[in-house]
Structure formats: structure tokens, C-alpha cells
Assembly symmetry: C2
Amino acid sequence: MTVDPEPADAVAIEIERKFLVAEVPADLDRHPARPVRQGYLAVEPGGGEVRVRQIGDATVLTVKRGEGRTRVEEEVPIEAGAFERLWPLTEGRRVEKVRHLVPAGDGLVLEVDVYEGDLAGLVVAEVEFPSEAVADAWAPPAWLGAEVTADERYKNHRLASDGVPAA
Amino acid sequence: MTVDPEPADAVAIEIERKFLVAEVPADLDRHPARPVRQGYLAVEPGGGEVRVRQIGDATVLTVKRGEGRTRVEEEVPIEAGAFERLWPLTEGRRVEKVRHLVPAGDGLVLEVDVYEGDLAGLVVAEVEFPSEAVADAWAPPAWLGAEVTADERYKNHRLASDGVPAA
């Protein structure tokens, strides 16, 4: 079980920036890619959620409970057959996309998510940095559009419930 | 996936009566018994819920979504290790009990649930019938107390969240 945030000496902070993709690179399909399906079985007003996710051949169940300082998260593997039986119960609360891994220089990797299904047309890229300084200094390539790092509407559970945000 | 209720020709109706236990039978421990632990990972206002359950050595995840005529339910096995990792996330929303199977005549079986943990002291018995007529005609043994079949407070998810009902 992971408690987030943990005490200062155990914090695992992710430093990420997220962008809309203004122009999908012509060579996108030449990069490694794998399909991602995730759907929400339950979303509680108090911040709790239960979701199933399939990335390539891996199928997992993730549970989050609580908010802010007391948020707890656990992820466990489930069998492919269990995933397929639970998937129908996520109807109307799904995210389906193909994630492409595009090198972004200096060992950085852009995860370019091309959404499908109800979210078709949306393309978002995310990149994780080793430090705040590197994140601040990073110059996005010209094919990236508006930065949406702080835009809650692009969180997966919001996309799953509310669809593509209005421009 | 099961849809409940299904079309009339496919309905699987459970005819059950539930009673408080006024006096626990002295020979209760001579009957087959197994521990039951169930806890809720999420409970949605709209009737959705996700719970994990351990009966003896079996561990399952159950998801319910929707209400009334559109309620859908699915149950899948999970590994014992996954159950143990998810269990802490059910804190405050648990039912723990030992279920004893007591013959009740005519092939009927009383499931006598002796609750533990926060619900310690509560003992409830449930019996399932093959028809409404048999259910109506059945005379409960003297050691059963008030019938609570229609009392929502004795539903598992209510017991898990709200504790033992006031008398």
C-alpha cells in the first residue's frame, strides 16, 4: 500500500508536463506503441475510485481512497478474463487510447496518447522529468500545442466521464 | 454478466427470510462454519458498489452498478495476495463474521452469521426457500427472534457503514 503524500523522506514526486498535440507527427506509427484501455467501476464523491486498466497484455485493478494527504492507492493484477467481464460495467466511464513512446532528447520520452472511442480526435502528450529545473528549461517541439498540465479536465477520470473538453 | 432483474423467463429470484437470533444455540459450533470477511472499496450514491470478499479460502471481487431494473452485477476471482493488499482500503466499511450452517428441517438450511469486529454481538440468521408458499408456511425455531427481512439496516453494506442498528 502506498500513502500519498508519504513522509518527506519517502516522497515519490512525479514531475510531468502535459500538452495538447497541435500536429500529429507523420512518423508517429514508427515509434513503439501499445493500446491502453481503462474504465471506472466506481467514482465516489469523496475522491475514492476503482478502475480497471489494460496496457498491452497486462490487466490491473486500481483502487484509490480518500483525498489529499490521506489518499491511499493500491494496484493489483487481475486475470485477462476478469478484466473482460468487468469491462462492460465501466460503460460511459472509459478512456481508450494508443500510447506512442516518442524520444524527446536528453533521455526524455514523450508519451503521445491518441484517444479512441468517445474521445476520438483528442491527442495529448506527456513527458516526465528528473527535476523541476529540467522541466522548466525544456522546450517543447513545434508540433506540441497548448500546455494543459494544470487543467483538471484532462485528468483521465474527468475525460472518462465528461468527454473531450471544449476548446 | 448478470442483469437483475432479467426478462421474466430468466429471472433468478431469491426467496429469503432473515431473523435476529434471540438465543444462540448451544451446539452452534458443532455445525459446519467458515469465516467471511467482506469490505467495500467504493460505494456510490447511485447504487454502485465494489467490494472484496473472502469466504474460507475463496477471494472474490464483486461490482454492482446501477439501480433497480438496470442493476448489473459481476463477480470475479482475485488472488489471496490481491485481497490482502486491497483489504486495508476497506477500513471503516467492513463486515466480518463466522457463518454457521444449521439444518432447519425439510432440506432447509439456516445460515447463522455471528458478527465480529465492530459488529460483535450481532447474530443474524437467514434461510432461503424454494417457493413463496414454503417461505410463508415456515415456522422459525424458538431461538430466532424478530424478523428483519425487510429492514434495510441489516443489509451488508449498511451494516458495514453504519454498524449495529439500534434496537
